[in-house]
């Protein structure tokens, strides 16, 4: 049974592509045949984060327009088994993606036996974002503990509930998950950042995970290696937990408490 999972947020720069790369890699590492699709036509970046940018020949628009077969466009990840990347087009206009075209590609991927199709949504609520979430069975809404990101997440939840195929066909609603990224427990402790509890109270969506603000994310982007592969880092471990929860495992939340500083440490710290 193949599942379509959209990673979305409304606001840009909150970590959608980082999350798409990490979650799809995690699912593949768990033995699920997984493809991650970049829906950001004109501004593709998933290929860079996945480290496959030099192997892009064809893209999703080529497939939709019949210029390439699906298997020609799919890029097999070298390090992670069961993982494939379908890049976005860099040059063509945004209207190249159509509802029918995307539906056909997803159907073909299901025929190919993919367990998970992860759709990396572009920012905003325009065509690309709408198409990325249209066929979704599950949605990961990525949100930073920051006021405009939370508001946009709420808007996106409304769109998922009203404009998706499941909503239009009157089927059971998309299963929604909240993933909080760039969380800084120390700043929550000083009262300068929204807490996990605050965000859950406002958005009222089940929590999939909390990814701490971490230098490991930038390092992973620089290297073109999904951060979940760095098993010794906090962000990598937090994503691994999130994937386990997505697959039904019950794991306690980590990296949400600040380490207590001693009195001396507090007196002499400079930050």
């Amino acid at each position: 049974m193949s599942k379509v999972l959209v990673v979305t947020s409304g606001k840009g720069g909150v970590g959608k592509t980082t999350t798409s790369a990490a979650i799809s890699s995690g699912l593949a590492m768990a033995g699920k045949k997984t493809v991650v699709i970049d829906f950001d036509v004109g501004l593709r970046n998933l290929d860079l984060i996945m480290g496959v940018e030099r192997r892009v020949v064809y893209d999703i628009v080529n497939v939709i327009q019949g210029e390439a077969g699906l298997n020609q466009a799919l890029i097999r990840h070298k390090e992670v088994d069961n993982l494939y990347v379908l890049p976005a087009s860099q040059t063509k206009d945004k209207d190249a993606l159509t509802e029918e075209g995307v539906g056909e590609v997803l159907d073909k991927l299901k025929e190919e036996g993919f367990d998970y199709v992860v759709c990396d949504s572009p920012a905003g609520i325009e065509r690309g974002a709408q198409l990325a979430m249209y066929y979704a069975d599950e949605a990961i809404v990525v949100s930073n503990p920051e006021i405009s990101s939370v508001r946009d997440s709420d808007r996106m939840l409304g769109i998922l509930a009203s404009k998706s195929r499941r909503a239009k066909d009157g089927e059971t609603a998309i299963r929604e998950h909240l993933l909080i990224t760039r969380y800084a427990p120390a700043r929550v402790g000083t009262g300068d950042m929204l807490s996990v509890e605050d965000m859950l109270e406002i958005l009222a969506v089940p929590l999939l995970g909390v990814i701490p603000e971490s230098g490991a994310v930038l390092q992973a982007s620089n290297a073109g290696r999904p951060v979940i592969l760095d098993e010794n880092t906090d962000a990598g471990q937090a994503y691994a937990d999130a994937v386990a929860r997505l697959l039904g495992e019950d794991r306690p939340m980590r990296f949400i408490e600040t380490e207590k500083k001693s009195l001396l440490g507090r007196l002499f710290s400079r930050s």
């Binding site: 503990p145 920051e146 006021i147 939370v150 508001r151 709420d154 808007r155 939840l157 409304g158 769109i159 509930a161 009203s162 404009k163 909503a167 239009k168 009157g170 929550v188 000083t190 009262g191 300068d192 950042m193 929204l194 807490s195 605050d198 109270e201 406002i202 009222a204 507090r266 007196l267 002499f268 710290s269 400079r270 930050s271």
Partner: protein, 94 residues
């Protein structure tokens, strides 16, 4: 926090509290005004329910109120119909 900060008081309350309060007000408003995306079939359903009611009693458009409320656990669909005063043309369809 440095040594001196201990003796300084915070200029304002914690800013996260302000953010939370502002968000709660704003999002409640956006949800209530339908920007949160009421089900797409709502207008059609509203029209059909109105037609059914009109088979039996005459009601004005504004006598019927539809509201969708989002709760943490569920969505509540509320339908309020103000029936006309007694004696005022009941069972018009006859």
């Amino acid at each position: 926090m440095g040594l001196l900060d201990i003796f300084r008081s915070r200029p304002q309350g914690p800013s996260a509290k302000m953010a939370k309060e502002r968000l709660q007000i704003l999002i409640a408003h956006e949800r209530a005004t339908g920007q949160h995306g009421a089900p797409h079939y709502l207008p059609a359903m509203q029209q059909e329910i109105l037609e059914v009611i009109r088979k039996y009693v005459h009601v004005e458009d504004d006598a019927v109120k539809f509201e969708v409320e989002h709760n943490e656990q569920f969505e509540l669909f509320e339908l309020n119909i103000t029936l006309p005063e007694k004696g005022e043309a009941s069972r018009q369809a006859d």
